[in-house]
Symmetry: C3
Subunit: 428 residues, 3 copies
């Protein structure tokens, strides 16, 4: 349970808000590279942290992310012409390069100096892992580029998708941190997920439906352990990573299956992008795996054609199938892991009213994550280290592992939790 003031602090991310200021200090997954596939392709609208932006790829392939509205008379650059190394407003022809410089102003007399005094807001971008990332913070505070394990792999070792979630980012991200709901919302889906097929871990998962949770702070966020009895002397641990400010990594099932991860990025305070990533650190994804991911299986979704909005959405009650629910083919009756989460998270209202919650021991990770976000707000000006922004904070893995019951999980799983490039990961 939070106070209304705490809830506001955590959920408001627009310009000028404290949490918006913190988030602008990190690299932000902004759009899929495929949305602007080639030089001089049509520009696309992008909304991040409440700011309306326009993305384009110029004639030389450089990526621009500008304020959507032209500095001149505020017409949208969406209708602009992407040509000859710049985006030209369709109203009076003002033209901007990827850095926001006004490089042509044909409506003014030749020789006018006016265009040199115009600067369109522009955010630097980088393309990595099929994603265009941007940095919206102060220029002198720009952190190193993202080094999450999945961001550094070869393209054929990774599959990335995004979907529009019609809720605040926080209740979406809390679902990624909250291991407890897996036993319920996803109960009858665990077998079906191609990421789970034929693994030993499943045996323990089904035998003990009331895991105990332990949560520890990591340099970059939290490590969250869910412990189940394996045998008289050992525990089966499933350990989730939360990397600040919005990344989560799903504990794997067996080393032969791909890993999974998410990023939960605010569009504005009432919408977010749920990014979903599958990856394998030591082999390319197989064609059958990719086909399933493209078809919207596992953590990915089926879309309304031409959009990133899920086919199952709040306007159609997420296509809940009451018969499947009754017959225990699906715990919630909603199809797909991601949409099971989204249906419940969106049902809380666009911004969950956390003054009305009643949290239990299984909510420990959520409680700690909120606390860390609030603490980071306070530390923002006093320290030099931003949790989760350093490459070493990002080079982590989740794991599922058997440990003697006498060994603390952070110790026993220490090496398994590091993403050493080129190494295999640990998972049963």
């Amino acid at each position: 349970m939070l106070t209304q003031e705490q809830n506001e602090l955590l959920t408001r991310t627009g310009p000028g808000t404290p949490m918006g200021g913190l988030f602008r200090r990190y690299w932000i997954p902004a759009l899929l590279a495929e949305e602007i596939p080639e030089p001089d392709c049509p520009p696309v609208r992008v909304k991040l942290l409440g700011e309306q932006l326009i993305a384009f790829r110029d004639s030389q392939g450089r990526i621009g992310l500008l304020d959507e509205f032209c500095s001149h008379r505020t017409a949208s650059l969406f209708f602009g012409r992407n040509e000859e190394c710049g985006l030209r407003c369709a109203y009076h022809g003002w033209k901007y390069d990827v850095e926001g410089n006004c490089v042509d102003m044909p409506s003014e007399p030749e020789g006018s100096n006016f265009k040199n005094r115009i600067k369109q807001t522009a955010y630097p971008c980088v393309e990595r892992a099929g994603i265009i990332w941007t940095y919206m913070g102060p220029a002198d505070k720009r952190p190193e580029l993202p080094e999450l394990e999945w961001a550094l792999l070869e393209d054929d070792q990774r599959f990335v998708s995004k979907r529009w979630q019609e809720s605040n980012y926080l209740q979406a991200m809390e679902g990624g941190i909250d291991s407890s709901h897996v036993s319920f919302a996803h109960r009858f889906n665990i077998d079906d997920d191609p990421m789970h097929a034929g693994t030993e871990g499943l045996k323990y998962l089904k035998a003990d439906t009331r895991p105990k949770f332990e949560v520890a702070e990591s340099d970059g966020g939290l490590v969250i352990g869910a412990r189940r009895v394996a045998d008289e002397e050992n525990y089966y641990w499933r350990i989730t990573q939360w990397i600040m400010p919005w990344y989560t990594i799903i504990p794997p099932f067996g080393t032969h299956n791909p890993l999974g991860g998410h990023a939960w990025v605010p569009i504005d305070d009432e919408n977010c992008w749920a990014w979903s990533i599958n990856y394998h650190p030591s082999r390319p994804l197989r064609e059958d795996e990719l086909a399933a991911m493209r078809a919207g299986d596992g953590i990915h979704v089926k879309y309304l054609p031409g959009t990133y909005r899920p086919l199952a959405n709040k306007d159609n009650d997420f296509l809940i199938d009451r018969q499947a629910q009754k017959e225990k083919r699906s715990f919630s009756g909603v199809e797909g892991i991601s949409m099971q989460d989204a249906s419940l998270q969106e049902s809380m209202g666009t911004i969950c009213d956390r003054t009305k919650e009643r949290l239990g021991t299984s909510d420990a990770a959520i409680i700690l994550a909120r606390r860390r976000l609030l603490a980071a707000l306070e530390e923002l000006d006093s320290t030099d280290v931003l949790p989760g922004a350093e490459p070493e904070h990002q080079r982590v893995r989740s794991t599922s592992i058997i440990l003697p019951s006498t060994v603390p999980f952070q110790e026993g799983a220490k090496e398994a939790l590091i993403a050493e490039p080129g190494t295999d990961f640990v998972s049963i």
Copy 2:
């Protein structure tokens, strides 16, 4: 004409409002029993007086009406599982019985006492007349169960429907109290209604189009007499009952036809349920009558498939037929008595601005009804009797009757206005 303050007092019914407090002291028609037709059927969303609720029928057939949002993390119980005598949240498995007790909390360790400290808001329900009624007020103030004549009849003597009206309840209910508009909005429909067929009253109705109105207070609300000249020595009276807080009974045409009634129940301040009931106190409804009612004739309506929203609604200008209007097949061009009313009432805006009205003598009943509602607010704490809540306030009938012009209608129609179980009603 009301002051803005009076209009607010009368139209606002959410939690914490004075009128909302008054209405919560009565039994409230909440949903059709057929919406939750059998044990363990899917739960349905119900909104009443601005509160979002979820209704379900448990494994033993008991009815639950709970706060829609789970006490744990505020996910909607709409996506829940209705199973084994309780509704289980699909997020973390918390389970509630019909009284709102948390009877299972599988996300917490076995032996945890946490669930005993959780109580989901739950309102008691009763099923009567094909309607599920609820009581949302203080437990120690619960009144006796509803004893409106139509609520106590055998199932085959009654037909009930509901429709969504996109306006505040008050302007809807005022239409039920206001006998004057019948001569205009419904002018060319009176013959068509199966409830009117072949009755002597029609003769007087058509001969005198300017009735005089007399209104008297009853114990439970108002009795509203509309008087027309029958012959030199007699009046033809049509007498409507308003039973507080929101029931109206339509004066009958002949004893061989069914009676009609309504309830006008706030969904929130900008929407209401218009309940419509046909019934006959001394015989089952005939199959042809039921077929017409099911088809949306008379006071019932045709729906958008799968909803309780009328097919003719404000998005399509209520399918007004200008040709029918011009040719006097329909006074307003809108089809059906209920939709004629709804079209005009919704056209006033979702909450009618009563500071702009100009009321005449024909509006006497509306003026008195508002006055009684406002007076009841003041009396709420000082008296023990809540008008309309006592069974004897509810056991009333409307009537159409010939009386000598020297006899006051309340006196002359005294017996006809009482709903004596088992007796025939008086009507010409």
Copy 3:
């Protein structure tokens, strides 16, 4: 750039606002005459300056424009019966004539005097040029009837259409004043417009893409000159008229082509009517010209069937054709001059935030127009002359003309800028 306060002053036109007060002093194009084509036809809703009104043509062909909501109980007169020289409310039968008098009140007793105390707000109307104009200001301030050149021509010399623009009137009107955007937004369309065919002016237009602008005040508004080099000693001038409060006239191309004009009229603060007029002062429009106009060519548009909403609208990104944009078949990729403007103007937001603009020398006319509107607000009470309201302010023309470079355009074009009835206009 404006202050927020100035922007509010200029864009707010509802009842009680300063600009709304100014606009109500002028005759206002309210609806097309064809919307109420014949006596006793169905009434239509009209919204102007934030007021919801209902227009009808009575049995004798007189035009009424009344407050939409009945004085009695505020039901909409849209559902009313237009019959026997009045509009009768469908709820209780109150009937109003075109002057707003309540001429029948059948719900009250015969002989009641109540109806004489009721006056429905009614605005006087006049039909001219296929448009129904209304005056919404104080009765004693009513100006003379509109005498714009196109308003006084024979019906066969003129074509009028209107389209709904989903933005404030001011950003729409600014597009009509702003000659500069023509070289960009409409660049590849100038040849196509039937109004431009085969004229000498085009030669100069294409040769010099950076015109210089000069703006002068006229009695009724502004005259805006765009000057291009014709040869060593002469300029090619294109001169636009702005007639207060909302009329613009497009400079012609050659005297054999029709002229064009617009009116930009607030529906409410977030919507406006863009009226488009083609006319020829000295000949009827040809059938091929009319066919093109009816088909939505030139300054006219194609509609969503049954509405005045353009087929290309903000819900479908104005059907932007990126291929046509890339291949320079269309500068913006949007089809049609009007929709090119509308797409850009609506993209600014429903009310453009002028505190964020950066205006250049080419925006001089816009700057002056805003200044004149603000000045007119201040002068409203102190002077007798309302700019643009006098017939002589309205009898003006736009022109395209060659003048020696030593001659000021107002002087050299003086006669060409006057709309002398029966004379040919000047244009190359």
